[in-house]
């Protein structure tokens, strides 16, 4: 198949590359691999993959740096692979434009789900920008600034709407606290987590079927939030 999506896997551990090649290959993805950050960046430019899976803790470049360099010229979705003890590097990479993360060890189901979300998000980004985002019963019309739940208008305050619109227009991506705060509230308040917590609680109360088991605005513990569309 010529139109099968290409996935670039950057990891310095050969067993991981071997497993990825086999597993993703079995699911009809074309897999290319790189074992260093520099090689990964070069391959990304040369073969324009649809998704990049990037391991943190590469021998030559740190993940944050790779993300920054990639984001300087492309919006290709980047999924971070991290181990549990480098949470801060993971958040750093997400702050710098990575879309999603997986914590090693991960199951194949998780991996495939993340790849699918990333591909969908990417194709949405490339196509005509949709102004309507749907998530469960909730419809957000980004052009008309209208939010409805089961067809009925939902009253949102200006800030609630701004936050929801930002999350919805980045559906599928993991958005870190810093990224959300600086995009919705502006840089001055990038450390005012309390606002974000309270507004998310408000949004869930107004929009989620069961605010205690959210299906639309998901908490990524210690990292940020993810909007599921």
């Amino acid at each position: 198949m010529s139109n099968q999506p290409t996935i670039l896997v950057v990891d310095d551990e050969q067993p991981i590359l071997r497993a990825m090649r086999t597993i993703l290959g079995q699911h009809h993805y074309r897999v290319i691999t790189a074992s260093s950050g520099a090689e990964g960046l070069a391959l990304a430019t040369a073969s324009m993959p649809d998704v990049i899976i990037l391991d943190l803790g590469l021998p030559d470049l740190d993940g944050k740096e790779v993300c920054k360099q990639l984001r300087s010229w492309t919006q290709i979705p980047v999924i971070i692979l991290s181990v549990r003890d480098n949470d801060s590097e993971k958040v750093g990479a997400l702050d710098n434009g990575a879309d999603d993360y997986l914590t090693k060890p991960f199951s194949v189901d998780e991996l495939l789900a993340r790849v699918r979300v990333a591909l969908r998000h990417h194709s949405l980004m490339q196509g005509a920008k949709t102004s309507i985002v749907q998530s469960g019963d909730v419809t957000i019309d980004l052009a008309k600034h209208v939010v409805t739940k089961k067809g009925e208008d939902v009253k949102l305050t200006a800030t609630e709407y701004k936050l929801l619109a930002y999350l919805a227009s980045n559906a599928g991506r993991v958005l870190t606290y810093r990224v959300i705060l600086s995009n919705v509230w502006g840089y001055g308040e990038a450390n005012q987590m309390e606002y974000l917590r309270v507004y998310i609680l408000q949004l869930r109360r107004k929009l989620e079927e069961n605010p205690r088991r959210p299906r639309m605005i998901i908490t990524e513990t210690g990292v940020g939030y993810r909007f599921i569309s």
Binding site: R84, D85, D87, S88, P105, K144, H145, V146, V147, D153, K155, L156, T157, A158, T159, Y161, Y177, Q192, M193, E194, Y195, R197, V198, Y199, I200, L201, Q202, P211, R212, R213, P214, T219, T221, G222
Partner: protein, 506 residues
């Protein structure tokens, strides 16, 4: 202490003696008819003693000489001349002079010695205070502060500087490895004189003291005092260094002991899942026999289970070693406890299939500043602990309440078997086991990790057998949020609503 010029002082003392003799002579002359010459001589001696007491040796000697002449002039015949008629009187006069001089000399010396003793005593009590305030201190900065304050008080110095080198034996004192105290912090040093004294012990130079005083030089006793203070301070610094070194050694020893314990206990725990993984994988890989579908399924799920177990074990070990090494860096952020618990419970759904997990935590609890990933780990460990020990089908209940304005109390209650009272406080220790405890699939680390994380947040953790079931409780401090959020305020005029109105009129 300002030193007065020497000449006026002598002059004043001699003047004192002169005055005393003139006044007493006037009195004695008026009493000439009533008292015998020998009584007058004795009275003069009394005046000499008086002068010595008040003005020291110089006054005493001056008074002796003056008394010698006035006694001769007014009282020895022929009167009102310095001529002496009887040779006996000449002897008496010289005896008088000698006795007077000897008395003033002895008394003067005694006085000087008394002064010296008083100075010594002040020094001694001062040093005693300094040393007793330094003995209990193990922190170089505090030592330097006490020392600086002390030096300033004793020497009335205009500026005191104390430097203590922390990075011993590296002697060049960069600011990073140095405690540097200046008292007062911004003083001008234009016309002051500097004295300095290094702090040394037999290990080498540990620091330096510098004083700026208004006197050009210290007196002998002052410089001796400075040296003594310096050597006491050096000892205190050395003691602090040794105590720190001892603490480090203790920590190392403890961590070494722990590592040995972990190694021995874990090598067994690691090998068990590894053995089943290897067995399952090699039979799946064996092409010489065809496995029946059921057997194949069984081996595959065994592989999954055992890798998951191994993963948990390694994760626990990693957490434990970070807690033990004190390397647990809390990434504290404002978190909603209800959201945190809901997410943790959501993540555990797949593992909690045979128990009923209930969360009774209000969304309106105050936000708390915690490391969300670590607190989530506490819930993981407590829940998976409950799943392991509580009977199938029983309920696991999580509750949280604001215990007092400064503490949030979280409890997890399960229907697991009671833990004997004497073991309750020990179950948070690493690898703790008690008779009758189910041991399978326990790493012996889960609860001690919880303890480490909760304590790192400034809370405490405990377990108790209550009427509701086996209860694990822990507290987390509530800090005041700097932001008061008034959501309702914003509701009145919002962009969204305005836009909607326009739409209606279009």
């Amino acid at each position: 202490m300002k030193v007065q010029p020497v000449f006026p002082q002598i002059f004043i003392r001699v003047l004192l003696a002169g005055c005393a003799i003139v006044i007493s002579s006037v009195v004695f002359v008026s009493l000439r008819g009533f008292l015998s010459t020998s009584v007058i001589a004795l009275l003069y001696l009394l005046v000499v003693v008086f002068c010595t007491t008040l003005g020291g040796m110089i006054s005493g000697i001056a008074a002796s000489v003056l008394a010698f002449f006035t006694f001769n002039y007014f009282f020895l015949p022929p009167l009102n001349t310095l001529i002496v008629a009887h040779s006996q009187d000449i002897i008496a006069m010289f005896v008088f002079l000698t006795v007077a001089i000897v008395i003033s000399n002895l008394m003067g010396r005694a006085q000087i010695r008394l002064e010296q003793i008083q100075i010594r005593e002040r020094e001694a009590s001062h040093l005693f205070e300094l040393s007793s305030s330094l003995t209990t201190i193990r922190d170089e900065k505090q030592i330097a502060e006490i020392l600086a304050q002390n030096l300033r008080d004793v020497f009335l110095a205009e500026l005191v500087e104390v430097k203590i080198n922390l990075d011993f034996p590296n002697t060049d004192c960069e600011d990073v490895h140095c405690v540097h105290i200046r008292l007062p912090e911004n003083a001008a040093l234009d016309d002051a004189y500097k004295q300095s004294q290094v702090l040394t012990t037999n290990r080498g130079i540990l620091g330096e003291i510098r004083l700026w005083t208004s006197n050009p030089s210290l007196t002998h006793s002052e410089s001796r005092l400075l040296k003594t203070i310096a050597s006491q301070a050096a000892l205190a610094v050395e003691r602090a260094m040794l105590a720190n070194a001892e603490n480090r050694a203790k920590v190392l020893e403890e961590s070494d002991r722990l590592k040995t314990a972990i190694l021995s206990s874990v090598s067994h725990d690691l090998r068990t899942p590894l053995a089943s993984i290897q067995a399952a994988a090699s039979s799946l890989n064996d092409r010489s026999i065809t496995l029946e579908p059921d057997a194949r399924c069984e081996l595959q799920s065994l592989l999954l289970e055992q890798t998951e177990h191994l993963n948990q074990l390694v994760g626990n070990l990693l957490n434990m070693s970070r807690i033990e090494a004190g390397a647990l860096k809390l990434q504290k952020q404002w978190n909603s406890l209800s959201d945190l618990i809901d997410t943790a419970v959501e993540h555990m759904r797949s593992q909690v299939t045979q128990h009923i997990l209930e969360v009774d935590v209000s969304e309106d609890l105050p936000l708390i500043q915690v490391d969300a990933i670590l607190i989530e780990q506490v819930f993981f460990n407590l829940i998976s602990n409950s799943v392991k020990f509580a009977p199938i089908g029983s309920r696991i209940i999580i509750r949280a309440v604001v215990q007092d304005p400064e503490m949030m109390q979280i409890t997890l209650i399960n229907q697991g078997p009671e833990i004997p009272e004497e073991h309750l406080e020990h179950i948070f220790e690493k690898f703790y086991q008690f008779p009758g405890m189910k041991q399978e699939s326990s790493t012996g680390l889960g609860l001690s990790i919880c303890k480490g994380i909760v304590e790192a947040h400034g809370g405490k953790i405990w377990a108790e057998n209550s009427s509701a079931g086996l209860t694990f409780g822990f507290t987390l401090p509530i800090e005041k949020s700097g932001v008061l959020i008034t959501l309702e305020e914003e509701m009145s005029n919002t962009e969204v609503e305005k836009r909607k109105e326009y739409r209606t009129y279009e």
